[in-house]
């Protein structure tokens, strides 16, 4: 199995590297999404990125006589820009008494889902491309993409290393973090924009399922494994990386799509983590009740 994978390395190196880097970056950002119970922001922002890609293709075709080129750079940029703007707007509704967060997230998902298809309904190549992205049936990348995502991963890891305790407090208890001098509002805006940008860029390379899966599943697995929240920043990206590597190797061996294989693997792991977490919780409750009953 490993030999098969190594043999495919020369052909798919960039796709593999980008897939793994995306998993690491999204898992780090997904910790905040999971911490705030805003799981579906990932799906909504990914879908908004698909709308951005559709828009990029339409605008690109308007200025060119050539057929729509699904790998044009401006698609990625428009996807990232729209996803970042949507993420910032959706996350800011958290503070609005007029609209619930769930309502706005649902609206974004549905609006972006419908319009991303409608925009390309009369462009067979573009429509096919969007369908590929929504189903994550391909992972495509260039050496430039590897560079971009390596830079994003390096920045994310550096920030987490330098500010881990402050980020942990901000994630756990924003009002107290603000009272202790953490610029919580500024961090929230930065997080929204960086989340949208990363999801927007990753959508172009890996599609909706893989982006959404890597955003929420590794952090959810990490919450079941870790005893302290600060450990999530180490465990979630490691889980994401290991499952992505395993998913790609298995997918390569049995000729399955790698994104689906990775997300399925992560989902199975999360199920196992829930089961073992439930067992540990029961054992601990028993231990506490025995301790409390002792005279």
């Amino acid at each position: 199995m490993i030999a098969d994978f190594v043999a495919s390395w020369a052909l798919f190196r960039d796709a593999y590297l980008v897939g793994w880097l995306i998993a690491v970056v999204l898992a780090l950002q997904g910790i905040f999404v999971v911490a705030r119970d805003q799981i579906f922001i990932g799906a909504a922002v990914s879908q908004a990125a698909a709308l951005g890609i559709s828009l990029g293709m339409v605008i690109g075709s308007a200025f060119s006589e050539a057929p729509i080129d699904p790998y044009h750079a401006h698609d990625s940029l428009s996807a990232a820009a729209i996803a970042a703007a949507i993420a910032a707007a959706v996350l800011s509704t958290n503070e609005s008494p007029r609209h619930s967060f769930e309502a706005v997230t649902g609206w974004v998902f549905l609006f972006a889902s419908s319009t991303s298809i409608l925009l390309l309904a009369h462009s067979p190549h573009g429509l096919e491309e969007i369908h590929h992205l929504l189903s994550s049936s391909i992972i495509g990348a260039t050496p430039a993409d590897v560079g971009w995502f390596a830079a994003l991963a390096a920045i994310a890891i550096a920030i987490v290393s330098l500010k881990r305790d402050a980020l942990t407090l901000y994630m756990m208890d924003p009002p107290v973090a603000a009272a202790l001098g953490v610029p919580a509002h500024r961090w929230s805006r930065l997080l929204a924009v960086s989340l949208g940008t990363t999801v927007g860029l990753s959508m172009r390379s890996s599609g909706l399922l893989y982006s959404f899966g890597c955003l929420v599943l590794p952090p959810l697995i990490a919450t079941q494994i870790c005893r302290e929240s600060r450990s999530l920043f180490a465990v979630a990206p490691v889980v994401a990386l290991l499952t992505a590597v395993a998913g790609f190797v298995v997918a390569n061996r049995f000729d399955f799509p790698p994104a689906q294989m990775t997300v399925a693997l992560q989902s199975v792991l999360l199920t196992l983590a829930w089961i073992s977490g439930g067992i540990r919780h029961s054992v601990r409750r028993t231990a506490y009740s025995v301790r409390d009953e002792k005279p």
């Binding site: 999971v34 911490a35 705030r36 119970d37 305790d165 402050a166 942990t168 407090l169 994630m171 756990m172 208890d173 009002p175 107290v176 973090a177 603000a178 009272a179 202790l180 001098g181 953490v182 959810l220 919450t223 870790c226 005893r227 302290e228 929240s229 600060r230 450990s231 999530l232 601990r284 506490y288």
Partner: protein
């Protein structure tokens, strides 16, 4: 001295304790003719307040009169539009206890981690952090529980953990924003015992935001009464009188102030 003054985005000076602190009774906080609020409209105007070590201040008033707004100004989260809010100690020497910790149950945390995060924004060697943790836990009756999950604690114990998280900074000024609103009588008594001990043994100044007049009557040395955008500060024995409290809570008739005590 830390100073927030003038403009909403005006200059903020943050530094160590000023020379004034050499005097044990020198104020920790002084607010001079400040207007505080959000956007274009101030919530509070002409606020004058001075808090010295060992004083226990209760902020009393109806809902929405600006008690929490003033707390946020004291914590440095918002700057006064005019006037000044001056802090005569380091921000690291302020402890804050919110009404409740709205932690997501999905997040794993131990008592040691939860309390230790109170040191965010300060710099201490690892050994000292450990010593401070044990000191904070011992003052809140949580000794020996540092490795336990936060989620295994009862509501009262969680509030104790929140107090320990504030105490780990060894605060000279402790700010509590309605900390007893979700506590039963026993847990509330425990919390106030801790505050009295801090005041007596360590001369920690306390700002306690609450609706409960009976708590102020028992524990306050000073009160600040909030009404219609104004703050009336003074000694507890001067201000905790029925006619003044009736006016503050805008109630009429005998026993109104007692009724206000239960206005939650």
């Amino acid at each position: 001295m830390s100073r927030l003054s003038g403009h909403p985005h005006g200059p903020t000076e943050v530094g160590g304790c000023s020379a004034d602190v050499s005097d044990a009774n020198a104020p920790l906080l002084r607010i001079d003719d400040a207007a505080i609020g959000f956007g274009t409209r101030p919530v509070l105007e002409h606020v004058d307040l001075e808090i010295a070590p060992g004083q226990v201040w209760f902020f009393l008033g109806r809902n929405g009169v600006g008690k929490t707004t003033l707390v946020r100004a004291i914590l440095g989260e918002i700057a006064p539009r005019v006037g000044s809010v001056r802090l005569f100690c380091d921000r690291g020497e302020i402890g804050f206890i919110p009404q409740e910790s709205r932690l997501n149950r999905n997040l794993p945390t131990t008592i040691a981690e939860f309390v230790g995060l109170g040191l965010v924004g300060t710099r201490h060697p690892r050994a000292e952090r450990g010593e401070r943790l044990q000191w904070a836990l011992s003052h809140t009756g949580l000794t020996g529980m540092d490795g336990d999950s936060y989620w295994s604690l009862s509501g009262g114990q969680r509030q104790r953990a929140a107090i320990a998280r504030a105490l780990i900074r060894k605060p000279r000024l402790l700010v509590l924003d309605e900390p007893t609103s979700n506590l039963d009588v026993t847990a509330e008594g425990d919390l106030l015992d801790v505050i009295e001990e801090l005041q007596g043994r360590h001369r920690v100044a306390t700002v306690f935001v609450t609706h409960k007049i009976e708590l102020a009557q028992r524990h306050a040395t000073h009160v600040a009464l909030f009404r219609r955008g104004r703050v009336r500060p003074g000694r507890a024995e001067d201000l905790l009188r029925r006619e003044i409290l009736d006016e503050t809570f805008e109630r009429r008739g005998a026993g109104a102030a007692d009724g206000a005590a239960h206005d939650r």
